[in-house]
Symmetry: C2
Subunit: 164 residues, 2 copies
DNA sequence: GGTGAAAAACATAGGGT
DNA sequence: ACCCTATGTTTTTCACC
């Protein structure tokens, strides 16, 4: 296989998924390589697009965006070109856009300040994308953005042995 | 108001949401404060829980988890205590869990290696949580995890002026 | 809150195995 | 591919405003 991920790369990815600001020193310690070897691998992972970037996880409730919702989109005119994601991209309240199998075509995840802001956003979505919408309001988020687990590689699998 | 976010903290959060590995030096430059002032503010944001942590964004397709789905959960026994999130927590394939308003009670987002892995996971979810499930398979993800925009504060709003 | 400077830790590049 | 060493940067703490 060509695109498969080596075990050690999987562990690096798992560690960084759990702690994006982990230092190369600590990372090296955790996966059992030297700092430079780890650094090299991380750069390759970034280059290959396995690591797409780094982000701080922000608590939406504390920054004035307490209302999250999932909005399912159904095209009104089936003859239209399918460029919905592009049309939705300019709306910054839309955090994610998924093309899905099912009665509806897309699901987007949105974050807004209030019910009236959601109302306004839905109107914008319908207008800019020419779709009908079905909205599911999130009441609470027990957990979110959990670090990936790839092939049994959890962040705390290995600790480097001393080599003195 | 007590919990409201200052403008400069909002900008810090926005920058770190867009680039979680941004150095304090660069951050200080972008928001127009000294390195130590920014560092102090970031620590306070972390402490207050505004910044919940940092994560590398991993491309699921490249690490052997190409299949994403949203699974809606409906409790079978309405008399049961509502501890579904706790019961789902041990399943690492579940990346997020939302309590929602609507016909169903929860929506969880899952990542798996294959259709058969999805089938197995759904069986596990039904068994451990005593729910019925409705699954929407993600065909593609035009965009995801876009950095937050809080009160007009985008990462590239301000650059520090030289003070020589 | 904010600043600036010093010490410690870290990132990064080069050369060797 | 990996390790080690050397250099420049960044983080972190601290005394002061």
């Amino acid at each position: 296989m060509s695109g498969m991920l080596e075990d050690i790369d999987a562990r690096i990815a798992a560690v960084l998924a759990a702690d994006g600001r982990c230092s190369y020193t600590e990372l090296a310690d955790k996966v059992g390589l030297s700092v430079s070897a780890v650094h090299q691998r991380v750069r390759r992972l970034e280059q290959r697009g396995v690591i797409r970037g780094y982000a701080a996880r922000i608590d939406g409730e504390q920054i004035g965006l307490p209302l999250t919702a999932f909005v399912s989109l159904t095209p009104i005119d089936p003859a239209e070109p399918d460029d919905y994601p592009q049309r939705l991209l300019p709306l910054p309240q839309i955090e994610a856009c998924y093309s899905v199998a099912g009665v509806e075509s897309y699901i987007v995840k949105v974050r807004v300040a209030s019910p009236s802001a959601l109302e306004a956003l839905l109107a914008q979505i319908r207008a800019t994308a020419n779709v009908s919408t079905r909205t599911t309001v999130v009441l609470s988020t027990p957990f979110e953005d959990r670090p990936i687990t790839v092939g049994g590689a959890t962040p705390e699998s290995t600790t480097r042995a001393e080599h003195t």
